[in-house]
Symmetry: C2
Subunit: 407 residues, 2 copies
Amino acid sequence: MAKINENFAKLPGSYLFAEIGRRTAAHQQANPDAKIIKLGIGDVTQGLVPAVIKAMHKAVDEQADPTTFKGYGPEQGYDFLRKAVLENDFKARGIDIDVNEIFISDGAKSDCGNIGDLFDIDNKIAVCDPVYPVYVDSNAMAGRAGEYDVDAEAWTNIHYMPTTADNDFFPAIPTEKLDIIYLCSPNNPTGTVLTKDQLKAWVDYANDNDAVIMFDAAYERFITEEGIPHSIYEIDGAKTCAIEFRSFSKTAGFTGMRCGYTVVPKALVRGGQNLNAMWNRRQTTKFNGASYIIQKGAEAIYTPEGKRQVDDAIDFYRNNARVIKEGLEAAGLEVYGAVNSPYIWCKTPDGMGSWDFFNKLLEEANVVTTPGSGFGPAGEGYIRLTGFGDAEATREAVQRIVALLAK
Amino acid sequence: MAKINENFAKLPGSYLFAEIGRRTAAHQQANPDAKIIKLGIGDVTQGLVPAVIKAMHKAVDEQADPTTFKGYGPEQGYDFLRKAVLENDFKARGIDIDVNEIFISDGAKSDCGNIGDLFDIDNKIAVCDPVYPVYVDSNAMAGRAGEYDVDAEAWTNIHYMPTTADNDFFPAIPTEKLDIIYLCSPNNPTGTVLTKDQLKAWVDYANDNDAVIMFDAAYERFITEEGIPHSIYEIDGAKTCAIEFRSFSKTAGFTGMRCGYTVVPKALVRGGQNLNAMWNRRQTTKFNGASYIIQKGAEAIYTPEGKRQVDDAIDFYRNNARVIKEGLEAAGLEVYGAVNSPYIWCKTPDGMGSWDFFNKLLEEANVVTTPGSGFGPAGEGYIRLTGFGDAEATREAVQRIVALLAK
């Protein structure tokens, strides 16, 4: 008798965006003339930049001709892309890693989920609260999370680290021993960043305890402030304790293209095993490389014209985020994020619940946001807005919120 | 302390193609003028068909324009492709499955590896011998294979089913209880197929024992004989016991594009859980959909012009396979496969070992093949050749082998 993985049955439903969709649709139906603006969406909306389009057309044509056709590629990614990543994302920042430490993939979500293959079931996992749900759910599926406690909205064997305005969004260095720690900076959903000193404290903790840090830097390209680390490998000691996830999704609008990469340093050894070699084995066995055409598109963002175009595209979203932040602040709200992130994390006024404020903005301003509580209990009392919308609609939405709160 | 997955350390090296490459390079170096022809490669070599190229150019252009841009797509695949698959690969053959039972992915290798997430560690796995290594290695990584016995070239907890000329390449229905059974038809590496009656015997066994069949139909498009099942769902009872893997890699030359799909029937229930819902949860949590551009390319193979073009492309490889089969048979060799497969499985003459015959063909005919023993102990005494090469080079290689054996 085939025995299934019983951990799947423990997973609670993930209804956040479905519930937002349901409430939005109900509001639209009750108010057919309402011009609803969505600022909740965590997906890019603008077209890919011309350099990427051009490179992909060329790659498509190569695939038509047997003399330039590419069949199976290296599971680790083509050297042309690994080298472009190495030079631009690391060496240009003074970070010395090896090209064989970079693994191109079909996206950071896959890698964040699949990295668990390298670890035993018996590991104590730590995540920030609020948090991107993939870290928790993928570990729960593997049996590392214990049982789900519906009342606490938490898994019994996961160590949750509240990151709120009360602790300046810095997850406290624990006093107990944790094994695998997920950190995300710039953070989804809070839009806040970890400083070098803060990251150094975590790197030291991880090395002292033989823990592993899973560092999610998917929003790295949105950093504007000097001195904020773009990679955990800017921190001394990180190579012996950290894996870093990167994505072209928000960097270059690749959410529908599917490409990202993961860095696994050769110096990262646990239980006598080299994690770089383990990830290489995992990827060569259970993955067959990212699409050639997509990798050629990703390579183009590192050309001089590609860089300029991507900078402009990022500026478009950054500007939206700034408009939201400044508008909400002018309306007297407490606002975080936006400066180094496409995300704005906004405290609800007068201690309102996340869903109550969500409803108020939907019903009285026709603006859709994301309730912070959907990302974890410590997200209660916040909402998330994003800079990924249309510029004009974003301005209009902010004006509506400002007018509503001035009533 | 982060504890690693100890099962990785048990995996033996996978040196088959590296060793073939080493011997080939050494021979070339010793014989700089030798015109070596490679018939060992399991990868397509011709360009993508015009309908696919055209569809991908159009999709690339859509990604340049915000009004047609596609960001995150459904993790399960776009409806346009799922519906094309449903109509053409199933309904057209009288198979009644639901569109929500089809999951588009970045390839059958990923799905064959990742499907293990749905099952407990405690399951008895069965594979054919010889076998595509992903089935075994992915289960070994998860801890289901026991220990690797170097002398036996086998895992202690895997049930190996010899499939050789001695049993007409039909893995015997076991007398003991097995939980998860991998079947591949048309088979890689043997090129042989399972008949309806043979598959029916396996489906009955699986239903009687609450086992699950993992049916790999990646080479389905190469079937030419009437009556050979293209899908396991042509067999009564398969929906309650089988998962089917399909790939566009060999069907449409997509090895470098990365697209395939997996069918998980809703009627497949084990331990009270619906495996369709479990796979949906797995994919939504740890995968973010296949690239939009690639899915549009895959959709194009189902258009009238796409079908004709793909048929022609397949005929090209089929013809190569036929040339190899007929040539080797004329040389007095015992040859299997080729009729419904791009693979030719050839018994070595005079009881030679796989590697000995490989060496002879390399050194005396300058032709590269794949030693059958590389796919498992029961592959000893065979070599694999493929129809994926250039037509002229294939003819030339066969002539050389014929001349060599006539000596």
